[in-house]
Structure formats: C-alpha cells, structure tokens
Symmetry: C2
Subunit: 157 residues, 2 copies
C-alpha cells in the first residue's frame, strides 16, 4: 500500500491536524522543509488517503444548536436487509453528526445535535423510534465537552 511515513510526514500530519488551513509555506517552515518538498509530501499524503480531507470546525452554538446528545439504539434481530436500510436512513438525518455500530449491549451509537430540546424530542420520537428494526432508543444529553474532537496521535514511528 505505501512506504512507511517519514519523520517529515509525521510532523506534517501533526501540524495539519491543528492548523488545517496553514499555508504550505508556513507548514514547510514549521516542519523544517523547503516549500516544494513539503508540498510534494502533502500531496502524497492526500493521494494515499492518509489525509482524508480538511474540515472547518464550526461553532455549534453559533448555528443555534444548543442541544447535543448521544442516542443508544438497540436493534431487533431481523434480516440484514432491514439493518442496511435503517442505517442508510440514519445517515441521511442531518441531526446525526456521527454514528457508529458497536459490539455489545447497544448496537448503534448516534451523536446528534438539535436546536432545542423540543426539536430533539421530535427527532427521537418521530424519526428514530419509528424506524423499522429499532427495538430500543435511549438518549443522554451532553452536559459538557470535556475533550471535543482531538487530533489522532501521530507516533514517532
């Protein structure tokens, strides 16, 4: 798939996880390279799928999302086809900012946002509980973001 990451690659990854929009010139300076090799490495990291993309981090509050919650879903045992369709529906809900399938008690964990508690209620009642295949839905509101979206650690080798 790919040769191992060089120390420069690792420094690039560390920097870009914290300053995703830094100019290549500044990035090069920070990681101790000239601009041109730095850009070459950056492009290679992108082409190889090691950097999957770049994202602006937008304030939820500024957009009016005052409610954040985790929803724990248990599924009924059913044909796999149902499960696939259910999961597709979940993905389409824009309140869902992340969703993972879990091993264990709970089958799915949904990270959701909403403008207020009422619209969150509407979401869980009308759009989650009603999905065919859902056996149980349990929500916990987020009280505080202790560590929101930290970078993936980039080990030295």
């Amino acid at each position: 798939m790919r040769r191992p990451l060089s120390p420069s690659d690792r420094r690039i990854l560390r920097t870009l996880q914290n300053e995703g929009r830094i100019t290549n010139a500044a990035l090069a300076e920070k990681v101790g390279l000239a601009a041109s090799p730095c850009l070459r490495r950056l492009k290679a990291l992108e082409d190889d799928g090691i950097i999957e993309g770049y994202r602006a981090i937008v304030s939820r509050k500024a957009l009016g999302f005052t409610v954040e919650a985790f929803v724990f879903i248990k599924l009924e045992q059913s044909e796999p086809g149902w499960r696939t369709r259910l999961v597709e529906r979940l993905k389409d809900y824009e309140e869902v900012i992340a969703c993972h399938a879990l091993a264990g008690e709970v089958d799915l964990i949904v990270h959701a946002v909403a403008k207020d508690i009422e619209s969150f209620g509407e979401f869980t009642m009308n759009r989650l509980l009603t999905l065919p295949g859902v056996a149980d839905v349990r929500s916990s509101f987020v009280l505080s973001n202790i560590k929101p979206m930290a970078p993936i650690p980039v080990p030295d080798h």
Copy 2:
C-alpha cells in the same frame, strides 16, 4: 454577539466544512462572490469564533490504530475537586480522541483509539480503572463507522 449570518456566510460555512483547505479564490467562485468580499467574510467568521479552526482528517488505520471504542464511565459520588482532577487526567490521555460529560446513567463517555486490543486493554485497566473517583468502566468496540464526523448542518436562516 453578532449580526445574523448572511446567505453567503452560510454557503461559506457549508463549503469549508467539506473542503477546509480550499483556496479563497475557489471558495469565492463556489459561493458566488468575488474573491475580496469572500475573504472579508471568511475573516469575520474566524474573528467572531464562528469558525473555530481547521483540521486535517487523518486516517486512523494509516497510523496503525486498528481499534476504536467507546468507554462508558460511571463516577463515585465525591467532592467536586476529585472530579475536576479526574477529567484533567482523561484529557491528557492521547488515546482519548473525544470525551463528554453526560446526563443520565453514565457520567462520562470516552471515544478512544488504540493500536490493538492488547494496548486498549492496558489503557482501560491501568489508566482508566485506576483513576480515583471511577466507579465503573464499560467498553464497546466500534464495529464500523456508519457516519464518521459529519459537518454541522447550516440551516438557511
């Protein structure tokens, strides 16, 4: 705090959540502005804290993190000081890529990565369970990322 977001602002926010490293020139074209006003709006969004930052999204697998899990922590009732220190320790663990305080059964939810199951075991056994104030630790491995880190929806008004 701020005047309401203009339609252009909203288009900028939508675009930058998907292409955080797009050039201002390309962004301007995409949102239907000239470069100069687009840049002014972008700076204003940054200055007002609506855009909190930018991040490269790095492949966990490419960095050798094959294990991803959610850890559900219940705390003992104890003086608030303990809780603060516990939470600080949690933040310092680099395996912890996100952590939130929850209302309900579970007090804390920890999103963690590890190189393999063994090192994840070491993490939970030696570094989570041993924290003073922790009453219960329960982990669920992530089987699949159904919707990993989606953008915050930007409503039309």
